[in-house]
């Protein structure tokens, strides 16, 4: 389907989020939309998919002007959008979620639908159990479900907002393959991302947004450097890796055994040394989540010992770990990390040690101003956290960390952030390392894992690899390992699996 946007304007208060955007996407194109956070990509896509309405401008589908009032309207016109935070309804079964939004049919024929679902899932090699509950799915799996649902609802224009964050390399390849296939069938694919390499490998055309304006368009072969300049209005360079440190152990795992719904892990031994960064790689739900939560005291190991700074904290609660200098930053920032409705000041006050009964608001305000400046957060002390952009929320989370800390545990610290934020956040984390903290983080971005880690642990279906030296590991090796290949080449040490 041919998609054309003309003179799109959108204001949010004083912010001109979309400023006179023109874009023509012929049928069969995979159109990339690049831009840093806050550039107006999401706004533009929400307009196209009916979540919000433009202040002015026109949308033409196959050269027919249409007015899209709602997402249901959009899907009626054949436009489906996959969100950055997949919109689903957690307490439902996968199949029920799949059925949502389908027009007509009060009593859907579940058998037929289940068959459709299985067929579609097989096409993408997605292993989704139609009878499992949505809240048991990982972010990646939820995205897969949403893609299937939109296709099944008859979308002929598919908008994907940052679809590659959170899914594995092999899932990504499958996804790209499918998108190419769909484009070949005449579908228009709009691929919103800040990841240059994804856009470059997939898209047939790229539009770059900056500060609400369309600042450039390009076709393959893409001039990478120029695209980056267009995105940021300047050149950006990535930080360099630091030398691996070999300080004292802050965290010792001795024969730790963990249980998950899907698997059991046992015999995990690891020394995390002060000042080092350990990356955890693996497909979503391969065990790294349970592992990092066990390091935080959020999950109780079924066996073995967890020793923090020489103290055996096995079986102790998260708050004991936290008191011992451990901090945990969860992946879903607004669901687990921050408290929507509370201001930045209130967050900083909460994170500080209490003094007395009454809050000193003036001191709290000063504290907030200082942190906001130090962490370059775009917001005021009174800003409610939900009004911040993703990158700024992540900075706020980092700013909440106490000093000194022994161990910082992060899940997907840079998911969905623009490159500038990613670099900034890592520079802050590296500062922590210099102060003697160890960092353990999960990322599905293999380049990030190799870029910032000293050592890497690979998880596959409950198996844990021995620590790999990041400097001696390549993206290909890592990609194979998280896909379950080449494990025999590794010395598995004591880690084994009981299925």
């Amino acid at each position: 389907m041919n998609v054309e946007l003309r003179n799109i304007h959108k204001h949010f208060g004083k912010v001109h989020a979309n400023n006179d955007i023109h874009l023509n996407i012929p049928a069969g194109t995979i159109q990339g939309i690049l831009g840093e956070n806050g550039a107006g990509k999401s706004t533009l896509m929400k307009i196209l998919s009916g979540f919000i309405q433009a202040d002015s401008g026109e949308i033409l589908l196959d050269n027919q002007p249409v007015i899209i009032h709602s997402p249901a309207d959009a899907i009626h016109h054949g436009v489906g959008m996959l969100h950055q935070d997949p919109l689903d309804f957690p307490p439902m079964r996968v199949l029920d979620n799949f059925l949502l939004g389908r027009a007509g049919g009060l009593f859907p024929d579940r058998k037929t639908v289940a068959r459709d679902f299985t067929r579609l899932a097989a096409q993408f090699d997605f292993s989704l159990d139609p009878d499992s509950y949505v809240d048991s799915l990982t972010v990646g799996e939820r995205q897969q479900l949403e893609i299937l649902r939109l296709l099944w609802l008859g979308a002929r224009v598919l908008i994907l907002d940052e679809p590659t964050t959170g899914i594995s390399a092999s899932q990504k390849e499958k996804l790209f393959e499918t998108l190419r296939k769909l484009a070949g069938q005449g579908m228009s694919i709009i691929f919103v991302s800040h990841k240059l390499e994804d856009v470059e490998s997939l898209c047939g055309a790229v539009a770059v947004l900056q500060a609400g304006k369309l600042v450039g368009e390009a076709r393959p072969p893409f001039p990478t450097k120029k695209l980056v300049e267009m995105m940021f209005g300047r050149e950006i360079s990535l930080g360099a890796r630091q030398a691996a440190s070999s300080g004292r152990s802050v965290l010792e795992l001795r024969g730790v055994a963990l249980e998950d719904i899907r698997f059991q892990m046992s015999g995990i031994d690891l020394d995390v040394r002060a000042g080092e960064v350990i990356g955890l790689a693996g497909m979503e739900g391969s065990g790294q989540g349970a592992f990092i939560r066990a390091c935080a005291g959020l999950t109780r190991p079924v066996g073995g010992r967890v020793v923090l700074n020489g103290r055996d904290l096995t079986g102790k609660s998260y708050h004991v770990f936290k008191h011992g200098g451990v901090s945990f930053l969860p992946a879903s920032r607004l669901e687990e990390g921050l408290v929507p409705g509370l201001s930045l000041t209130e967050h900083f006050v909460l994170a500080e040690e209490t003094r007395g009964i009454f809050i000193d608001r003036t001191a709290g305000h000063k504290l907030a101003e200082g942190r906001i400046k130090a962490f370059n957060i775009r917001g005021t002390p009174a800003s409610p956290v939900e009004s911040l952009s993703g990158g700024n929320q992540q900075r706020a989370l980092l700013a909440l960390l106490k000093s000194p800390l022994s161990l910082v545990l992060l899940e997907h610290p840079t998911r969905g952030l623009d490159i500038e934020s990613v670099i900034y956040i890592w520079s802050k984390l590296k500062e922590r390392c210099k102060q003697g903290a160890a960092i353990v983080f999960i990322s599905s971005d293999l380049e990030e894992v190799l870029q910032y880690s000293d050592r890497v642990l690979v998880f596959f279906s409950g198996k844990v690899s021995k620590p790999l030296e990041a400097s001696k590991t390549t993206v290909e090796q890592l990609g194979n390992l998280i896909g379950g290949k080449d494990w025999e080449s590794l010395d598995l040490e004591k880690a084994h699996v009981k299925k």
Binding site: K322, P330, E336, P340, E346, H347, V349, T354, F358, I359
Partner: protein
């Protein structure tokens, strides 16, 4: 900016009030009643005389106490429907202590003080039961609270019909009234006790300071808005939830105690007078801001008392004030929704 918002909010809430009045007027017209006359009567019934206004304040005291308590549980994100039962348990504990001590030589002031404190403890214990059901039993506080309300009613009835019945009588009318010396002192010629007023006003001030200015209040808010994040930030969430239940129970228990020592002077089956549910409505209407609780609770108490005129003067059913109260909630919720939509757009 913030100030602006506050005035805009106020304007929206006034609009909700206006809409509620318009709709109630339509209902009155449909019922063939003169609306202006009805409103005038409600107004006069509430504020027309010193007596009437004192009666409004008599109703205001337990309602405000209950609302004060509910503001705490609301801050912790809890729907403490069980507040109704907590009022009843407050009344039961108060009655219990009064019965124990009424024939002693203790000074009445001491007996009353002990009885009110016992009522507060009773309310708190009952609330903590709901809290324990939620924390340790995984029972949602709404269902747990509803269940405990039934149990509290049954307990009240059993006491009135059984162990605490009047000699020679078995009736749901209530227990034997306490001696006059065991009533809270009232203003001469009125039904209103200055002590009850002082307790209610103190309660709302304490809750206001607690929620606005203390670490406890801020943490409670964090727990209420995002328990998971609050936990990760280092707040012991379930302990805070339990504390909020206990505190709410204290205030609800005080409301129950007031019903016994300042209004009915005995235990009756409907001792809570529905102030628990009404308190939930008030707390919701003030959007959990303690500052507004006093005037809004006063408004509701005035509606309750003023509407007694409807059956007397206009032969209308006094449940009409219930219609107005319900409409008000409905429109405040609706207008709040509309406001949020508009804010998003602009």
């Amino acid at each position: 900016m913030l100030k602006n918002n506050r005035w805009i909010n106020l304007a929206f809430q006034l609009a909700a009030l206006l809409l509620a009045v318009i709709f109630t007027t339509l209902i009155l017209l449909a019922a063939g009643a003169p609306p202006l006359e009805a409103y005038k009567n409600i107004l006069m019934g509430a504020f027309g005389s010193l007596d009437n206004f004192a009666n409004v304040l008599v109703a205001w005291v337990p309602l405000l106490l209950t609302t004060a308590g509910l503001l705490i549980t609301f801050s912790a994100g809890l729907w403490n429907i069980g507040v109704e039962g907590q009022i009843m348990l407050g009344a039961i504990f108060t009655t219990w202590v009064m019965r124990l001590l009424q024939d002693t030589t203790m000074p009445p002031a001491l007996i009353l003080t002990l009885a009110i404190l016992a009522g507060m403890v009773g309310g708190a214990l009952w609330a903590m039961l709901a809290g324990a059901l939620k924390t340790f039993g995984g029972v949602n506080e709404i269902f747990g609270g509803l269940g405990l309300n039934f149990v509290a009613t049954a307990l009240t009835l059993w006491l009135i019909f059984g162990p605490w019945k009047r000699p020679g009588v078995a009736s749901m009318s209530g227990t034997v009234p306490f001696d006059d010396r065991l009533s809270l002192t009232v203003f001469t010629g009125l039904r209103l006790s200055p002590w009850a007023l002082v307790i209610a006003v103190a309660a709302i001030v304490v809750v206001y300071l607690l929620l606005q200015g203390t670490y406890f209040g801020l943490r409670l808010k964090a727990v209420g808005r995002n328990a998971r994040a609050a936990f990760l930030l280092g707040i012991p969430t379930w302990q805070y939830m339990m504390m909020s239940f206990a505190l709410c129970g204290l205030f609800a228990g005080a409301a129950g105690a007031m019903q016994v020592v300042a209004v009915y002077h005995r235990l009756i089956p409907s001792i809570s007078s529905g102030y628990g549910y009404l308190g939930l409505i008030v707390a919701m209407l003030v959007n959990y801001q303690a500052l507004w609780a006093a005037p809004v609770a006063l408004f509701y108490a005035a509606l309750n008392i003023g509407s007694i005129q409807l059956p007397i003067v206009l032969k209308l059913d006094s449940s009409l004030s219930g219609v107005l109260q319900g409409m008000l909630v409905l429109f405040v919720v609706l207008v709040e929704g509309a406001r949020q939509q508009l804010m998003k757009k602009s």
